[in-house]
């Protein structure tokens, strides 16, 4: 498959996301598939941003392993990322401001200095952000994309700012394009553009759109990364879509308002991340008890506590699974892709109303915030809407209406408040069929047993409605990779890479966390040769859940908790190590040692220095090996000192400055 990955690195405020968006939309309009991931680096003052945009003629399902072109918007990005560019690629940078040390480049990597000042001179005095537009134009030429399409995207992006702004942007992009055309040979990408127009969306946008298509009439939230973009989309489209969007005082209010609206009969949803979800848990049990439909989206970020707010992790499974005291019926869905975010939310509303229970969608920053192209029909309007059994009129041949009637299915037909003849009180205290309490003065063990069975057996039919997990790939594979939620795409790509290395792997991905397809999963797993659970947390929360539900213990684990998403090679390398019986180490790699040096520099030396040579030293005085890292001046390359970091513990043993 023909593909290219472009990295854009710069500081917050460099206008990097806009440039990435223009690039992505240009490629998408040409019919290429796009996957982008914006990795907020926390190691450099000013908040460094590293955006990767991967384009391919076929579906790309992660931001990939390789870097083909770097657009560096500041000196730091040049130094950090230029060495990553693969042979055949290029580094684009503003040569008026930035320097590229050729020794950083791999062989056959093109250095593309762009004289931004002279290229933008005909446009008069321009914003510094225009360096991005020059680079974008040059990239369009080098990567073999189509300039007119890029110009159309710029037109659509800036049209609200007036024709002059549009023209200036197009002119400057053209200057970059022409400069590259006159001075460089293109990188050799010969695309076949299908020109199929695919929407370019994030998971959170897919959640929001799916919700309004499914008839969501109420959305509440408290601002919290990485769920806030659902709130923003909902708020800005509320009037158009007829939704009441309520920012509340806290997540206690958020979920209780949503439950109130759901109880009244509106399709209601709320969203948060792990910390907010922690506040919601008691109320989620309430929804289970009073049998009120509500949809809750929990977008995981790095935890615990405030954790790593702008990074991704899959470590809230225990919390979502353990939410609220007591046993109560609920459903937990972990969407496996951007498209699946749309489908999951539609399904969640139907399940919530049909079975009168809370449905929690457990997402993560990766699937919620990264944008990608989805097929044109992925976002569609003809979705099924099932509101379940609603009582709209009632007469009393067999006595009064019983809101919590003990039916065989466990589903008690629901009357909305305001209906004539069906008055009832919904209580969080346990209650009988009619809603009368069995908790205070009069208790009844028999009624309690039957009402609890009634509620819980709703899950039997619910589970039967869910699609069981399917083993993807050859049934007789030597190794089975198990994942849940957002890792579907990256595991699929890892399996393909393994096949290229002659390793026969297959893949089992779980979307439905609760209720769980225990029998189906068990049958599949017991037929596998070697099972490896891949998940983005420290303790193997899903593997434990799987063991609890099936009694099956996976053979091996691949876990990532640095809060960056998996890339295919992370999985491939570890699968190979497992199959070859190599021990896997938690020692700091040289790249990680460099990251830690950057962190040390940022917090103690300012941004005038950078790490240079790194060498490993065997134990000498310390009780572990160390990485000794030379720190040099960014300006003069003179040595500023040396930093020693433990290979095993990561502790900083010493910093020896060069004495002046």
């Amino acid at each position: 498959m023909r593909e290219i990955t472009i990295g854009i690195g710069g500081a917050a405020g460099d206008g990097l996301d806009k440039s990435g968006d223009t690039l992505a939309k240009t490629a998408a309009r040409l019919g290429l598939y796009v996957y982008a991931y914006n990795s907020y680096q926390s190691v450099i003052r000013g908040g460094h941003i590293w955006l990767r945009v991967r384009l391919g003629e076929e579906k790309v399902q992660s931001h990939g392993d390789r870097l083909n072109v770097l657009i560096a918007l500041n000196q730091d990005s040049v130094e950090r990322h230029a060495p990553e560019v693969a042979p055949g690629g290029a580094v684009l940078y503003n040569s008026d401001k930035l320097k590229l040390d050729g020794s950083l480049l791999k062989d056959n990597v093109l250095s593309v200095p762009l004289p931004v000042g002279s290229l933008t001179k005909p446009s008069g005095k321009v914003q510094p952000v225009m360096q991005n537009t020059v680079a974008l134009g040059a990239l369009v030429f080098l990567a073999g994309l189509d300039f007119d399409t890029a110009a159309n995207v710029l037109n659509d992006t800036f049209t609200h700012k007036g024709q002059a702004v549009v023209e200036q942007n197009v002119k400057i992009a053209r200057a970059g394009y022409d400069y590259a055309h006159d001075n460089f040979v293109p990188l050799g990408y010969e695309w076949s553009f299908s020109r199929i127009r695919r929407p370019f969306v994030t998971g959170n946008e897919a959640f929001a759109l799916g919700a309004v298509v499914a008839g969501c009439r109420f959305y509440s939230a408290y601002p919290m990364t990485p769920a806030s973009s659902i709130l923003h989309w909902m708020a800005s489209h509320a009037e158009k879509c007829g939704v009441v969007v309520k920012q509340c005082e806290d997540e206690l209010a958020v979920v209780n308002l949503a439950i109130g609206a759901g109880h009244a009969g509106a399709r209601a949803m709320c969203g948060t991340s792990g910390g907010g979800f922690a506040l919601m848990t008691e109320a989620i049990g309430q929804a289970g008890m009073i049998e009120t439909p509500v949809v809750i989206i929990e977008v995981q970020r790095g935890g615990p506590s405030t954790g790593v707010p702008t990074k991704t992790e899959q470590a809230d499974l225990n919390q979502v699974f353990g939410a609220s005291q007591g046993d109560y019926p609920r459903c937990i869905i972990a969407p496996t892709s951007t498209t699946d975010c749309f489908d999951s939310v539609v399904e969640a509303f139907n399940l919530a109303e049909k079975y009168q229970l809370p449905v929690t969608i457990i997402s993560d920053l990766l699937v919620s915030e990264h944008p990608e192209t989805v097929e044109p029909d992925a976002l569609h309007q003809d979705v099924p809407i099932d509101r379940g059994q609603l009582v709209t009129s009632f007469n009393e041949p067999n006595g009064p209406y019983k809101r919590y009637a003990f039916t065989r299915s466990g589903i008690s037909p629901r009357a909305l408040p305001g209906t004539e003849g069906t008055l009832y009180v919904s209580a969080t205290d346990d209650h009988d069929e009619g809603g009368i309490l069995i908790s205070d003065v009069f208790t009844s063990p028999a009624v309690r047993r039957k009402v609890q069975e009634k509620r819980m057996r709703k899950l039997d039919a619910l589970l039967a409605e869910l699609t069981p997990p399917i083993l993807q790939g050859p049934a007789d594979a030597d190794v089975t990779l198990i994942g849940w939620g957002s890792t579907q795409g990256v595991i699929e790509e890892a399996v393909a890479q393994l096949a290229q290395s002659g390793i026969n792997a297959n893949h089992l991905q779980f979307k439905y966390v609760y209720p769980f397809h225990s029998a189906e999963a068990s049958a599949i797993l017991r037929g596998c040769k070697k099972t490896i659970c891949v998940e983005g947390n420290y303790s193997g929360q899903f593997a434990r859940h799987l063991r609890a539900e099936t009694g099956f213990t996976v053979d091996e684990h691949i876990r990532k908790y640095d809060c960056e998403p998996f890339e295919p090679h992370h999985i491939v390398e570890q699968v190979k190590a497992i199959l070859e019986g190599r021990s896997r180490s938690n020692d700091l790699t040289v790249d990680e040692a460099r990251e830690m040096a950057y962190h040390y520099i940022r917090t103690r030396l300012g941004d005038k220095a950078r790490p240079a040579a790194i060498a490993r030293h065997e134990p000498n005085g310390a009780d572990e090996a160390t990485w000794n890292i030379e720190i040099v001046s960014r300006e003069t390359l003179e040595k500023r000192g040396e930093l020693s970091i433990g290979v095993e513990t990561g502790t900083t043993y010493w910093w020896h400055p060069v004495s002046a």
Binding site: A238, A266, S426, T428
Partner: protein
């Protein structure tokens, strides 16, 4: 208001006997709510009574209407959701001082700030009764309870003053010893467009041996418009809210006509959310998708 036919109080009889202690102030509140609903001719199906947890929060079970007996401290939040979900319902929240002024005080303040059209009746007995007698947010200073054996060290919440600074547009106080007056206050709150607070002295005959019926009877008096009290005067209301001791005022402290939260929501202009069609217009959907291309 147009002349309406009053509904009989029996219409709201649930058939479930309250489990309150004999003599509990909450009996008076239950009766006053039924009287108020009857006078306003609110059909039981159009009345939604929402409560939290506590002795007084059992009230929805004792009135024939729709009801939600929600979580401790969350009654106001659930009620706000219900009101936004179906704003045709008359939403009355009932609960105690621990529920509303303690664990639920955040929702209380923000609901007032929104001026959402719900009526909040707080049965304020200055004690935690259901949990057998601990200090509550309105327990007076130095009062000994099970949890404050050396005397309560904290200032009590002043719910009326708090309501005044938080944006409530109907603020009243009543006393269980005077159910007829209380019914007037509650009826005024329900018919008021906006957030209405009716703080009710509802004595706990079992665990509060200080703030008893006789204690209140000796002290309470009614704010009287005829005697010159102006319930649109913020400063007067503020001063009266702080009057405590030998003389304690009852009545309508403050009333103001302001836009309600529901007025600001375009989605509510087409009727109740609960009864609007779910389908999105084809052209709207197409516009939404176009933003992504």
């Amino acid at each position: 208001m147009a002349a309406v036919v009053q509904l009989p109080i029996d219409l709201y009889e649930s058939g479930v006997d309250p489990d309150w202690c004999p003599g509990c102030g909450d009996f008076g509140v239950l009766k006053a709510i039924k009287l108020a609903a009857g006078r306003l001719a609110i059909q039981p199906k159009d009345l939604m009574v929402v409560s939290g947890i506590g002795c007084s929060s059992n009230l929805p079970g004792f009135i024939h209407s729709y009801g939600v007996h929600s979580l401790h401290g969350r009654a106001v939040a659930v009620a706000e959701g219900i009101k936004l979900g179906n704003h045709a319902l008359n939403v009355v929240v009932t609960g105690g001082d621990g529920d509303g002024y303690g664990i639920g005080i955040g929702h209380f303040i923000h609901a007032m700030r929104r001026n959402i059209d719900i009526t909040y009746v707080v049965m304020n007995n200055q004690i935690y009764g259901l949990t057998t007698g601990q200090a509550s947010p309105t327990t007076m200073k130095e009062v000994r309870t099970k949890s404050t054996p050396r005397g309560n060290a904290e200032m009590p919440i002043n719910p009326l003053a708090l309501a005044l600074v938080s944006g409530a547009t109907y603020i009243a106080r009543a006393f269980s010893g005077e159910p007829e007056h209380m019914a007037q206050m509650i009826a005024g709150g329900i018919s008021h467009r906006g957030f209405a607070l009716i703080d009710v002295f509802s004595p706990c005959v079992t665990y509060n041996k200080i703030n008893t019926y006789p204690w209140f009877k000796q002290r309470v008096y009614k704010l009287d418009a005829n005697a010159g009290y102006n319930s649109t005067d913020t400063e007067a209301a503020f001063n009266k809210a702080f009057e405590w001791g030998d003389h304690i005022p009852l009545g309508l402290f403050y009333k103001d006509e302001q836009p309600i939260y529901e007025d600001s929501e375009p989605a509510l202009k087409n009727g109740s959310l609960a009864h609007q069609p779910l389908e999105l217009k084809r052209e709207v959907f197409q516009e939404l998708v176009k933003e992504f291309i």
